[in-house]
Amino acid sequence: MRPRVLSVSSFRSSLAPRLLALAVVFLPALAVALDTKQAANFLNSLQEEAAAQLGDASVSEQQKEDRFRKLFNQNFDVPAIGRFVIGRYWRGASDEDQKAFLAVFEDAMVQRFLPLLAENSSERFQVGTVTLDSRNENMALVDSRIDRTEGEPYRVSWRVREADGEFKILDIVAEGVSMAITLRSEYGTVLKNNGGKLPPLTEALREKVANGAFAPRQ
């Protein structure tokens, strides 16, 4: 103990350059917030998990939906997507209206994507290149290809965001068309026609979900 206390000043002087060297080595890694390889892995394991959980034939439809909803909420930033598609009308809406909308919006998304992810086996789903977002260092666009039994394969890109080492999907882009932007234009028109009020949109969406309108037709 004692010798160390005595040599503190010399220790300090040798520590500074070491810290500097460490900083030079590690800072670039810290500055790049998103690792493209991790982003690709994220999507791959999501697909595998969805296929494993939903491909099980012994599971009832209700159980499937429950499992998928959990998986969906873990991997999609539903509140952020919901807020984005409401756009400038979000702030004017009350807390309850916002919550009610997000709940129905989540139902709609689950209805839409459950069959898509459940039916795609790993052989048909391939992750391609990952492009970092030039404006946001914690976001990237992950390309993927989904082969179909008939017809040309779907090319789908997934916009992901990393926060605290966790990835969440924010948007899906197919053939240059973004789901988030499409829904925002559409819902924006509905909101405008209703004087900017959120509840009528929520109600219309609820009706569609009840009729199973979001389930893709095959």
Binding site: V78, P79, F84, A163, D171, G176, E186, A213, R217
Partner: protein, 210 residues
């Protein structure tokens, strides 16, 4: 409004024809029809490749036309695609887009569907860019347009059905889809046109809203 007119026409005539066509004609034959129609359009694509100054794509288009018109039996078979010369489409609306022309306003054309000022004008220019306009009687052009329409519709039956099923405002949805898709076509799919800006919306965990 032409949108409602087109929707009614689609429901009453076009969709049933497309469904029947897909049902009675085997996939192989339908692909042959599409190959032939695409090959017929190649001169227009080539002209627009050149007008865009895209020599690489022009070369692909030219090679496709040469291979498919000869070995491909007048375009019935897309041999070129298997030889590394994939199909792509260009039109004068896209060419104007690459020159930096804005879309003008959105409009819906009767029968032809969603468009805008720039692309509708582009359609007219494309007619003049097409050698077929000068050598074949008008009926051929109309027949080709009808065939191309049925081919397109027959390949998108489920897609359009589900697009419509879950939409709250079908007109607004189609308008947005058309815009984004054209923008992506103009930059040849290298980038999605408009990118959603999520940076103002913080990451949220599902349990905590707001």
């Amino acid at each position: 409004m032409f949108f409602a007119f087109n929707e009614a026409l689609d429901f009453a005539v076009i969709r049933p024809i497309a469904v029947t066509y897909r049902f009675i004609v085997p996939t192989g034959v339908r692909n042959t029809v599409r190959n032939f129609l695409r090959n017929l359009r190649t001169p227009v694509t080539l002209a627009n490749d050149l007008l865009q100054g895209d020599l690489d794509r022009a070369e692909v288009t030219f090679t496709r036309f040469f291979i498919n018109s000869t070995i491909g039996m007048l375009g019935l078979f897309d041999i070129a695609a298997d030889s590394g010369f994939p199909y792509h489409d260009e039109d004068f609306g896209q060419t104007m887009g690459t020159y930096g022309a804005g879309e003008g306003f959105y409009l819906v054309l009767p029968i032809l569907g969603p468009s805008n000022l720039r692309d509708a004008g582009g359609r007219i220019v494309d007619i003049f860019l097409d050698p077929l306009t000068y050598v074949a009687p008008r009926e051929v052009g109309v027949g080709r347009a009808v065939a191309a329409g049925v081919d397109f519709r027959s390949r998108n039956i489920e897609e359009l059905d589900s697009l419509k099923a879950d939409s709250l405002d079908f007109y607004a949805r189609i308008r947005s889809l058309y815009r984004q898709n054209r923008e992506s076509e103009i930059n040849n799919g290298t980038l999605p046109g408009e990118q959603p800006n999520f940076s103002e919306i913080p990451a949220q965990s599902p349990s905590v809203v707001e």
